[in-house]
Amino acid sequence: MAVVELRGVNYIYNKNTPYEVHALKDIDLSVNEGEITGIIGHTGSGKSTMVQLINGILKPTSGQVFVDGSDIWKEPKKIREVRFKAGVVMQYPEYQLFAETVFDDIAFGPKNMGLDEDEIKERVTAAAAFANVPQELMMRSPFDLSGGQKRRVALAGVIAMDPKVLILDEPAAGLDPGGRADILGGLKKYQREKGTSIIIVSHSMEDMANWCDRILVLADGKIILDGTPDKVFSRFNDLIGLGLDVPQITRVAAALSRRGIDLGDVYTVGYAADKISELF
């Protein structure tokens, strides 16, 4: 079943003014339950607009947005509920922490949902575990934590709302390789155990290749590529032409193929090493 569905969605900023921008054009999309979907695209390609449409922050100029089976704009007064179903972790979320303790910060979402104390406590504990936030930090001020810890607290805050779909904008930006693997590995584990759908927006082709089940490429307000990482990254020249990148390993495979050694579609180092090993 599709957890998020866009049907014929258009979004136009500043409609009927000289500054009109047609940010998304006739988008049809189903995001499958329990998958990690990656969205890549050049700055200005429509990625953020799409995220804000799914979360109900923007209302489509035309077309429909479905989250968990229902049209989110059918009853505009209830739009707030969509934000509990589609949880968004913004870019650099560590700058949005505000509460006095880590616990209170993570509990903010569940409290707004009107849950009772015990349920809140349970949710906070579970969310902290998924996001790798150690229990001993719970009573500390979030401002005393390191950047990586703060990022994980912010992530826990959204997980605590137990959304149907978790949307993350550049979740690993600015982290070192160890920190990236912590965050992305934690998300993978969360997806596997809870079955939550995850949408990741990122510029890191290596991370996308390693962690996503499906990748969408946006350009100029349209989805121009859609498929598994190997299929998408095999469209090497198209991606480069769009000002995007491919994993370095995919470039190596392309260079080998020009030299008569064809490895097929390659986007991870492990797979490339296995394919080359078959040749000797």
Binding site: H42, T43, G44, D144, S146, G147, G148, A173, G174, L175, D176, P177, G178, G179, H203, M205, E206, G243, L244, D245, P247, Q248, I249, R251, V252, A254, A255, L256, R258, R259, G260, I261, V269, G270, A272, A273, I276, S277, L279, F280
Partner: protein, 291 residues
């Protein structure tokens, strides 16, 4: 001749009632040669940014010496004016493009630093035009900065530093928040500045970016874990992995193939060259196995 030299530098952030002091740098020594390109790698919290602040003399080390352009800034008898003079040799470009733009018009933003230095306005005009030309932003001189892309904003920030005629520029993860195109633009600008003789220190998490440096320093827990040419440093992937860092994907592939018995070097960072060494090694192996 060194632009910057650190000798046995240690630095700690003071603690308070709830938190103990944090030792950020522990006996760090390094040399940044004039006109060179140095990359500094290290995981979050390894001390990279503290190191940058000390090299710009925004912070003073607890122990050890900081030598800028041949003068020991930690020696006795150094006056405030000496420090000010030295500070004017080293500039810094930060991570977030939105936090370093102050004016509402691009060229005014580039001029801001020079104005504070009290440079005559005709001279500022000349420097600003030249700096915008260098970073390829002349076309945008009269634009509003908030409408530019991340890469363009970073280039405006760089122009501001160039206009102040810094001999050395430290880039503290200046590409971290940019998309691939923005990164490419900024890296090309950095390469160009280095070719024109400016000393470059690039602090980064992207291993591929470090491969273009003359020299790489790897920091771990406030100490220099390893240093050398990119070839030296990346030829030992295990050390980097243990410090929760990475190596370029080319090196990782070659390392895996070598473990399985293919005779390839590890210090090849260009995808084309990497493909070539793999093809040659496969050929050689086939001939050897056939013989």
């Amino acid at each position: 001749m060194n632009e910057i030299e650190l000798k046995n530098v240690s630095f700690a952030y003071p603690g308070d009632e709830t938190n103990p002091p944090v030792r950020a740098l522990d006996n760090v020594s390094l040399e940044i040669e004039k006109g060179s390109f140095t990359a500094i790698l290290g995981h979050n919290g390894s001390g990279k940014s503290t190191l940058a602040r000390i090299m710009c003399m925004l912070d003073t080390p607890e122990y050890g010496s900081v030598i800028i352009d041949g003068r020991d800034m930690t020696a006795d008898g150094i006056t405030e004016k000496d420090v000010l003079d030295a500070r004017r040799k080293v500039g810094m470009v930060f991570q977030n493009p939105d936090n370093q733009i102050v004016a509402t018009i691009v060229e005014e933003d580039v001029a801001f630093g020079c104005e504070n230095l009290g440079i005559p306005s005709a001279e500022i005009r000349r420097r600003v035009d030249e700096a915008l030309e260098t970073v390829g932003m002349t076309k945008y001189a009269r634009h509003a900065p908030h409408k530019l892309s991340g890469g363009q904003k970073q280039r405006v920030a760089i122009a501001g530093v160039i206009a102040m005629r810094r001999e050395c520029i430290i880039f503290d993860e200046s590409t971290a928040m940019l998309d691939p195109m923005g990164r490419r633009e900024v890296l090309e600008t950095i390469d160009k500045l280095n070719e024109e003789g400016i000393t470059v220190v690039l602090i980064t998490h992207y291993m591929e970016e470090a491969t273009r440096a003359d020299r790489v320093y790897v920091l771990n827990d406030g100490r220099v874990l390893t240093s050398g040419t990119p070839s030296d440093v990346f030829s030992d992937p295990e050390t980097l992995w243990n410090a929760s860092l990475d190596v370029p994907q080319t090196t990782e592939l070659l390392y895996k193939l070598r473990q399985r018995g293919l005779d390839v070097p590890l210090d090849v960072f260009d995808p084309e060259k990497c493909a070539k060494v793999i093809r040659d090694a496969l050929k050689k192996k086939k001939t050897a196995d056939g013989a």
